[in-house]
């Protein structure tokens, strides 16, 4: 399952980033940060395409030796980035897609909180739990 989940604001700064505690956190920061280049590229490419009926799922952003980075962008240009262990070959595109959808729903819930200021780091326990459920290996 996911080893790192990040939510990135429209202005490309992190709202939320969490990775498996056993690994080097900074490494994932770098991974997610550099993946934004690809996200930007994909979004700008998408801008030329039909605006409505846009696919939110960006697909595989880039593979590294150990990980695969997947992206998802909401209509408000908030990005979700998920880093998945590339050894985990059983994971299908559809599963990734559904994980992103789950994440998006949870994020929507966070946004619905009247005490949450858009643009602030996310500190929601519910969202945390969602992310945790994605990060533990599905049994």
């Amino acid at each position: 399952m996911a080893v790192c989940v990040a939510v990135i604001a429209k202005e490309n700064y992190p709202l939320y980033i969490r990775s498996t505690p056993t690994e080097n956190q900074l490494k994932f920061h770098y991974t997610v940060h550099t993946s934004l280049d690809v996200v930007d590229e994909k979004i700008s490419a998408m801008g030329k395409a039909v605006m409505d009926q846009r696919e939110l799922y960006l697909g595989l952003l880039y593979p590294t030796e150990d990980y695969k980075v997947y992206g998802y962008v909401t209509n408000s240009k908030v990005k979700f980035v998920m880093v998945v262990d590339s050894s985990n070959t059983s994971l299908r595109d559809n599963e990734i897609r559904s994980m992103f959808r789950k994440l998006h729903n949870s994020y929507t819930d966070v946004m619905c909180n009247p005490f949450y200021n858009p643009g602030d780091p996310i500190q929601s326990r519910a969202f945390d739990n969602t992310v945790t459920s994605m990060m533990v290996p599905a049994c």
Partner: protein
């Protein structure tokens, strides 16, 4: 083939490689002068043909790369230019020998070579050698260009011959197999006659010819050859060569599509020449057609050549999308052989460059990703750095700035890898700086001051740490301090407590060597590092300019009263004005500072650090006025709450001062923090006027200082308090010393007083002073002292009201207005009447109650330049007087005197002190009162005519209501009575004395008794006025005249009245005999009638009496009550009693 050339681009395929080398020792500078000169000749139009020849120069080229020359001809070194320095002819032969050796190295591929000898004077010994040229000096070498061009021409001839040779080779004879070095052993034992082998030879040769055509500037021919080669090689699964053919095809197409070039560097130069030769290209097309073997075009379009070339070009040339496809294919072909790794890598790089031009970043990134995975043999550290730098550059090219920064940072880290013997910290630092934009990090703290920090804090922090470390290892501590300050300032919210501690510690250790300053640091690369002020260490929450203390506060003489209000709004009050926005923006404060006086600014600061923060030399930054600040040092406890800090300074000139910010020194870093840049600062104005200097007055008194402050309700703030204890009625003299402790002369002084606590009833002036004497000593020079004498007079109520009323009610004598007592009982001298004070014991607490009085003395003073501007200062002295009761008048009453014009006042005087006390009235003897004793004191007084006083006072002031008039009237009455009485007390043991005022004691009833009745009755007997104790003598038998005169002093007409005279005899035993019809007879009526008397008029009645016997008689003139609705008071009708002594005429005659 081991060393990849990362700078390669697709159009390099059409170039000829020329190596420029030096022989012997030549200064780098000189060598590159010549090298640059030579390499400027990079395009040549050979043999006046319309073709263009491109040359690539290298000053070093690995020989093993040269071995791949057959694979891709642009890798082949075809020309060699050697540069040598030779002083004499003797040195020439060894030089030429070395030149030959150099040629040897590239001998297998070399077409031609040249030797340029510099510094050689005189003639060349061997003129036969055309490949050697000599020049006297490095500067004098104009002919080099020409030489190089000639050299290129010769290269072209060889190239062209080779091309034609290879092209014609296919006529049937055996084609040699071209191979790359590593393939050599693979072909051992292969059957050279097999069809497969032949095809391979054919395909490889075709590809080679394509290369040559491309180099010779025949793009179309090259395309055709490449196409054929691809077909041939694909059939025999010769993957590496197929890849090369495909790449050649791509290169040729790229050259066609993007004449501007993909390398970027020499692009402009190239494009220019290409456009120049664009039309010549066309014209030459038929020439090219001669050698073009186009399987498709030849048969169909033999006639229309121009059209065929167009079609051929369109057909042979790949479309931009196809280029990428073919590149992909080529790379995958290369990928099949491990030995072709470098070729694959270079192909990727070339493809990325093409894609960058096509702006297809996504695909480019895929190619780059592939580059990362291509594993070459163990790379040296330097090569790694180069590789990462190139990756970074390429990512930059396709707009992936984050990726680019990532690789740049990796390259930077590689520069200082532990395996490197001499770490290149400078290079590392330089590379790290270049990564900043990729991490959206600017080194200007201003970019972070707006709102909360938004960015990749973890990544940015790491980078900053690396910058700090690199700059420190570079040996530039100032830079390290600057970066570390920046880290601390901008990343404070993201640092953990431990990190904060560590950063602060290392910062302190750095600054011990090199303190942080506010100067921007300019890096050699031209980047300017702005200063980093520590606005968060400590965090300042509010800045407040403080007014001067009350005693020093300047005040403006109010000659323009209300002007301020009128300019603002026509309304006296409006809620809109109260919240006026523009007012806030103005930021001007409505108090003033004074030149030369210490002024204060209060900051509320907050320490965000988890340890104690020491802030040294904290001061103010101001503008407008010369301001001398006194630095403060403070130590803030860990994560303190808001902590007030007062910064002080002295304005030295006048004008408008603006507090712009503050200055701190934290961890050895000096920072100037401007208030404008502080987020979330509460600030209500930073601009204040500084007015010219004013003197300062200090007062000291003869009285002891008091800890007792005035009640806050007093409003004014009082600087000094003194207190004194006085007995009621006492007067105290106080000497006040006025000292000018300022620097300006004190020119003007005004003194006013105010009584604060007015709960007590108070009589007379509390404070009085003589200012003239003091003012005579003015102006007061600085340091001089003047003296002012002030008298404190306490005169509280001497009565005790409740007792008084109680006593009066049961005293029949005083209440009665009627004359009932015998005149003989009234004594004219003060009568002492001991009275038991049984009830005073219970009420002694009341009597001993100490009352306090408070007053304020205000000193308004001014002088010096401030006075000229119309400012003054106010100094207040608070006086607290504890008033102990001295004497009380517990009861007051009146007794009519014998005369109707006089009256006796009786006071019960109570000594409430603990000392023996004497009391006396005017002209009277002392009355001694022991402690707690109460005695009666009687004073005979003339009755008062109050009308005149009250009239005059009511005329002077018009009181709004009757009650006040009445009060005022009573007050003035009391005053008059008091002054007439002049009662004083004295405590001999304490040597204290004072007066006892009766003002508050006198009640309405007593006053009425003391007042002269408005109707004055004068009774005269036999023409003699007959009053109180006068005894009128008369003879028995003689009628005596009785005259009653009424004078009306009241304002209204009075009357009519009826008076009856009733004689009687007093037996002195309480028995009055009224049965005197036989003894006294009236001549005429004993009843008088008085008509209406107008105001100020008088009426007289006459009558006569005849005494028949001797004796003492009294005449009681009674007022006949005939008017039922009479409203005049009874006391108005107190007529004097008449005492007549009738004497026998006989006895008289007897004597």
């Amino acid at each position: 083939m081991s060393a990849p050339d990362y700078m390669q681009c697709a159009e390099d395929h059409q170039t000829l490689l020329v190596v420029v080398q030096s022989i012997g020792v030549i200064k780098n500078e000189n060598f590159f002068k010549i090298y640059n000169r030579v390499s400027s000749v990079c395009q040549v139009n050979p043999m006046n043909t319309q073709r263009l020849l491109f040359i690539r120069y290298r000053h070093q080229y690995p020989v093993e790369n040269n071995e791949w020359g057959d694979f891709q001809t642009h890798r082949k070194v075809v020309g060699l230019i050697s540069i040598a320095e030779c002083g004499s002819a003797r040195d020439l032969p060894p030089t030429i020998l070395k030149f030959e050796q150099q040629k040897e190295a590239y001998s297998s591929t070399l077409y031609d070579s040249r030797l340029f000898v510099f510094g050689f004077q005189g003639e060349m010994a061997d003129q036969s050698r055309i490949d050697v040229a000599s020049y006297p000096s490095y500067d004098d070498c104009a002919a080099v260009d020409k030489r190089v061009e000639d050299f290129i021409q010769s290269l072209f001839i060889v190239l062209e011959s080779k091309r034609l040779d290879r092209t014609s080779e296919k006529s049937g004879e055996k084609i040699p197999l071209l191979y790359v070095p590593y393939e050599k052993k693979d072909f051992v034992g292969l059957d050279p006659d097999s069809r497969h082998y032949k095809k391979r030879c054919q395909g490889r040769m075709r590809k080679h010819v394509g290369d040559l055509c491309l180099q010779a500037g025949m793009l179309q021919d090259a395309l055709v050859h490449y196409h054929m080669a691809v077909e041939l090689l694909r059939a025999v699964n010769d993957f590496v060569w197929l890849g090369a053919a495909l790449e050649g095809l791509c290169s040729a197409s790229v050259i066609h599509h993007y004449p501007g070039g993909t390398g970027g560097k020499a692009g402009t130069q190239r494009r220019q020449s290409v456009t120049l030769s664009a039309d010549s290209f066309k014209r030459h097309r038929p020439g090219a057609q001669e050698v073009l073997i186009d399987p498709g075009a030849l048969s169909t379009n033999g006639i229309n050549m121009d059209a065929s070339t167009e079609i051929g070009r369109a057909k042979n040339c790949l479309s931009p999308d196809d280029i990428i496809e073919k590149y992909k294919e080529a790379i995958s072909c290369y990928g099949k052989s491990k030995a072709a790794g470098v070729i694959e890598l270079e192909a990727c790089v070339k493809a990325v460059r093409v894609l960058a031009i096509q702006k297809r970043s996504m695909e480019a990134s895929e190619f780059l990703q592939n580059v990362v995975y291509i594993n070459l043999r163990q790379l040296s550290e330097e090569e790694k750095i180069q590789r990462y730098s190139v990756l970074s550059e390429l990512y930059e090219l396709i707009g992936f700035r984050r990726k680019s920064s990532f690789f740049k940072r990796v390259a930077a880290m590689q520069c200082v890898a532990p395996s490197i013997v001499e770490p290149g910290w400078k290079a590392c630092y330089k590379l790290l700086l270049e990564t900043l934009p990729g991490y959206s990090l600017s080194l200007d703290p201003k970019d972070f001051s707006k709102g909360t920090h938004k960015g990749w804090a973890a990544v940015q922090m790491r980078l900053l740490h690396e910058l700090v470390y690199a700059s420190r290892r570079m040996g530039n501590p100032a830079l390290a301090v600057r970066h570390l300050s920046f880290l601390l300032q901008t990343m404070l919210d993201f640092l953990s407590d431990q990190e904060k501690k560590d950063v602060a510690q290392s910062l302190e250790s750095y600054t011990s060597k090199c303190p942080g300053t506010m100067d921007p640091i300019t890096l050699p690369e031209g980047l300017i590092l702005p200063p980093v002020p520590f606005t968060k260490l400590p965090i300042v929450r509010s800045v407040k300019l403080l007014d001067l203390p009350v005693i020093l506060r300047p005040q403006k003489v109010k000659n323009l009263l209300g002007q301020k209000l009128s300019t603002k709004s026509p309304f006296i009050y409006s809620p809109i004005i109260a919240h006026n926005r523009s007012e806030e923006k103005n930021k001007k404060i409505d108090f003033q500072w004074v030149q030369g006086d210490v002024c204060e600014v209060q900051l509320m600061v907050y320490n965000p650090m988890p340890f104690e923060l020491r802030v040294e030399t904290m001061g103010l930054l101001t503008s407008g006025v010369e301001f001398e600040y006194l630095p403060a040092a403070l130590s803030l406890p860990a994560e303190s709450g808001l902590y007030p800090v007062t910064l002080v300074g002295v304005p030295r000139t006048t004008g408008q001062i603006t507090v712009n910010g503050y200055h701190t020194s934290v961890f050895g870093v000096y920072s100037d923090c401007l208030l404008d840049n502080l987020p979330g600062l509460k600030n209500n104005g930073c601009t204040v006027d500084v007015i010219p200097a004013l003197p300062r007055l200090q007062i000291s008194t003869s009285l002891p200082r008091s800890a007792h402050a005035l009640q806050p309700s007093s409003g004014d703030e009082v600087s000094t308090h003194v207190s004194v204890q006085l007995y009621n009625g006492e007067t105290q003299k106080v000497i006040i010393k006025l000292e000018n402790i300022g620097t300006e002369p004190l020119e003007k002084l005004e003194v006013t007083s105010k009584t604060v606590n007015t709960k007590e009833k108070f009589y007379g002036d509390f404070l009085s002073w003589e200012l003239e004497e003091t003012l005579a000593q003015f102006p007061l020079k600085p340091g001089n002292t003047a003296i002012l004498t002030v008298y404190i007079k306490v005169k509280l109520d001497f009565s005790c009201q409740e007792n008084l009323l109680q006593d009066l009610s049961d005293d029949g004598i005083s209440v009665s207005g009627l004359q009932i007592s015998s005149p003989f009982r009234h004594v004219s001298k003060p009568r002492v009447e001991s009275k038991p004070i049984n009830q005073s014991d219970s009420k002694s607490s009341d009597f001993n109650h100490v009352k306090s009085l408070e007053g304020i003395l205000n000193f308004k003073y001014s002088g010096g330049p401030g006075h000229v501007e119309g400012y003054y200062r106010n100094l207040s002295l608070g006086l607290h007087v504890d008033v102990e009761p001295s004497v009380f008048f517990t009861r007051v009453s009146t007794l009519p005197a014998t005369s109707t014009r006089q009256c006796h006042l009786l006071f019960d005087v109570f000594n409430s002190t603990e000392h023996e006390l004497t009391i006396n009235a005017k002209d009277n003897q002392d009355l001694i009162l022991h402690a707690g004793e109460c005695q009666r004191m009687a004073i005979q007084v003339d009755k008062f005519n109050f009308e005149s006083i009250s009239d005059s006072s009511s005329e002077r002031q018009s009181f709004p209501n009757l009650k006040e008039i009445e009060e005022e009237r009573q007050h003035s009455k009391g005053l008059e009575i008091n002054s007439k009485l002049g009662i004083r007390w004295k405590i001999p043991s304490l040597k204290r004395e004072g007066e006892a005022s009766v003002e508050g004691v006198l009640n309405q009833l007593v006053l009425e008794h003391l007042q002269l009745a408005p109707l004055q009755w004068d009774v005269s007997v036999d023409g003699k006025p007959c009053d109180c104790d006068v005894i009128a003598d008369c003879k028995v038998g003689d009628p005596i005249h009785l005259e009653v005169r009424l004078t009306n002093c009241s304002k209204n007409a009075v009357g009519p009245f009826a008076l009856t005279v009733i004689p009687y005899q007093d037996y002195q035993n309480g028995v009055h005999n009224h049965e005197l019809q036989d003894i006294v007879t009236f001549v005429g009526s004993n009843t008088f009638y008085i008509g209406t008397v107008q105001p100020m008029d008088h009426s007289v009645c006459f009558g006569a009496l005849l005494f028949l016997y001797t004796g003492d008689f009294y005449l009681d003139i009674k007022f006949q009550d005939d008017n039922s609705n009479r409203e005049l008071p009874l006391s108005w009708f107190c007529l004097p009693s008449v005492h007549i002594r009738a004497i026998d005429t006989l006895s008289e005659t007897k004597f």
